[in-house]
Symmetry: C2
């Protein structure tokens, strides 16, 4: 693997491309991406829970049910959501154009969109984008593809990881986009993972779901769950390694690598959150169950008042306690303990003995951890969140116009 | 009733006062308020659902269980929340000082606090505030009291209404504060309602709960449910009118007046929301049940992306559809219709035929209605919300420091 084979093209047998097709007429950035496997691959996907789904989500869910895919085409600039029958026809026509170019089956081509909702795809430019990508596919094309899927992201997000198996080695690569409409279940974003591991679609889905639950479903920028959230994983089996069978150490090792890769990407999504100036880890322990701990962590991670306090360098643990209190999880207020990094600010439900300047110094950092203990139970959870800044408002008040 | 007997002092037999006690040492505004009934009154209360409750909420809940109160003391500048045993003792000592001054029972004195969480009450100044209020009680004191309970509010909020009964007439007066930490169940705020009607505590609670559900539980500024939310109603029976008995037309008329008064105040809380520049009504119809409709209305009312779009004059109905889709309520995306005032922007799940400038013109107004129809069902709901602006961030990033 050379240094230039990054992201989705890091594993054996994947090519990719990015192309500028002016999906938004005023934009000259790359806005179409294509990822292609040399051979048909096992595919699994995790999708938005929103009842209003992009046409592309419906299309990809069908492909994941079948279990085989060979390519993923992505456009930014238009979400192809709330576009009715036309949206479904457009997704199909896009897949067909990709399939023709590759000599593959239309039913093995995933199609993803991200951008403004409610505007039909500009199909002439989309098809031009398909052709442009097909013409520039390359084993070094991962970086271009990662740029092409960006919307309000400020940096492209690529990752790869190698996993030593008992015999042989496999590589997992990925790219991700998303910095607004980020909320748990699923965080709003597109994530594409490729691997040269050999694994059946069912087991691949189990590992992907587990990884998403421990990464993309534990982050929060705003609280809006989009119409287009998608995590897709293609496994083409082209590495020289034995197939991954559930219940084996290799399978577990691959699963852990997938979690690690997804957590890395999820944290980078938060760091690049719209207007974010802080990266804050919310760690909850002592709850009765992990689910209770997650409710508390999520409430704090989503609280506008906590997030504006983080932005304002304000060690306002009262807002943290308040959010924990309305999370819906069982809670004894008199057992609440809160730390900002190493500084205990709340003890047994009231102010701990600390110096305000010490606490302020902690929240002034670009990264810090809010640790919350709610009792003696075994339940714990971690969430990653950003602060809420002026720039979030600027970006989202001006985004569409 | 003269023009100067406003708000909580509008009904017969109530006096009030506001006093500047420097609860926040740097502030010279009135920050203590006292409302007193000439005679012990029936009392009912609706309180925060937060598991982390102010000591004052626990104190008032106990008084409401007993059903009789004669006075309400309120301080702004400090929430007396997360203050442990000390907080309870301070609430009790405050009530005691009021009771001594009035020659009343300590157990008939409600105590409310609003402001920063986690700091013990400055009891010397609180008791000084009690004395100052006692010395200036007046039948014209409603306006001063309404100013004294403000925190980040920019205008005091008073209201009164007269209700003609079959024999006689009663008056209901009120004051409210709250512009941040506003979320349904219960919106974060303090509301004090007085009336000279004669009504038992049980029926009074039923009517108050109904009014709160149709007003304060249908508003949203941010999504944080505070530790101190309180709606208290005192009915002293001093009007020359017969007692209100459940099941009678008079009881119903009084209940409707209470709803109307609470809706008026709730809408004014939203209009004065932190940083709010828009007042937006979210009206949902066609759901299977009222509860489903409420879930959808709440999701749209709370959505940061919808609220920033409102702020940005962006007729971004895609974000509205998106929020409806993740609300958790059953929803057929193809049945979604959305109007901005009179302009239909979404029809059968996709863009309706409208001119963008017409839709933009509607959301550019300081007040407009988002009407959402999700099907043919009987369920409907209305929510009132604000936009999310730069000033919200400024206020909340800087509030405590």
């Amino acid at each position: 693997m050379t240094a230039s084979r990054t992201g989705v093209t890091a594993p054996t047998g994947f090519r990719a491309a990015g192309f500028a097709a002016a999906i938004k007429p005023t934009s000259s950035k790359k806005d179409c991406a294509l990822v292609v496997s040399e051979a048909p691959a096992s595919v699994a996907g995790v999708f938005t829970q929103n009842k209003v789904k992009s046409a592309t989500v419906l299309w990809n869910q069908e492909i994941c049910r079948q279990g085989t895919a060979q390519a993923v085409f992505v456009n930014s600039g238009n979400a192809n959501a709330c576009t009715g029958e036309q949206g479904l026809r457009d997704a199909e026509a896009t897949a067909e154009r990709v399939a023709e170019g590759l000599g593959a089956s239309r039913d093995n081509v995933c199609v993803c969109s991200t951008g403004v909702i409610g505007v039909p795809l500009p199909m002439d430019r989309i098809l031009n984008g398909v052709d442009g990508c097909l013409a520039s596919l390359s084993p070094e094309g991962g970086a271009d593809a990662a740029v092409a899927i960006m919307t309000t992201d400020t940096v492209p997000k690529e990752a790869s990881i190698e996993v030593e198996l008992s015999r042989g080695r496999v590589t997992v690569g990925a790219m991700a986009k998303g910095s607004g409409m980020i909320a748990p279940n699923t965080a709003t974003m597109l994530v594409f993972i490729t691997t040269d591991a050999s694994i059946e679609p069912g087991p691949l889905y189990s590992l992907l779901k587990q990884a998403a639950d421990r990464s993309f479903n534990c982050i929060c920028i705003d609280n809006d769950c989009s119409t287009n959230d998608t995590v897709l994983c293609l496994a083409n089996g082209l590495a020289e390694a034995q197939p991954l069978m559930p219940g084996t150490p290799d399978y577990a090792a691959f699963g852990e690598a997938l979690v690690s890769l997804c957590q890395d990407l999820a944290q980078r999504l938060v760091r690049d959150g719209e207007g974010a100036t802080k990266f804050v880890t919310i760690s909850v322990s002592g709850a009765d169950t992990d689910e209770d701990a997650k409710m508390i962590a999520r409430a704090v991670a989503q609280s506008q008042l906590c997030k504006t306090a983080f932005y304002g360098n304000d060690a306002n643990w009262g807002r943290i306690a308040c959010a924990a209190g309305y999370s819906g999880a069982p809670l004894n207020p008199d057992s609440l303990q809160v730390w900002l990094n190493d500084i205990k600010v709340m003890e047994d439900g009231r102010r701990a003995d600390y110096r305000e300047e010490d606490a302020s110094e902690r929240v002034r950092q670009p990264e810090f951890t809010v640790r919350i203990s709610v009792g003696e139970g075994p339940g714990q959870a971690v969430f990653w969140t950003s602060d809420l800044s002026f720039d979030y408002i600027r970006i989202n008040a001006e985004y569409r116009s």
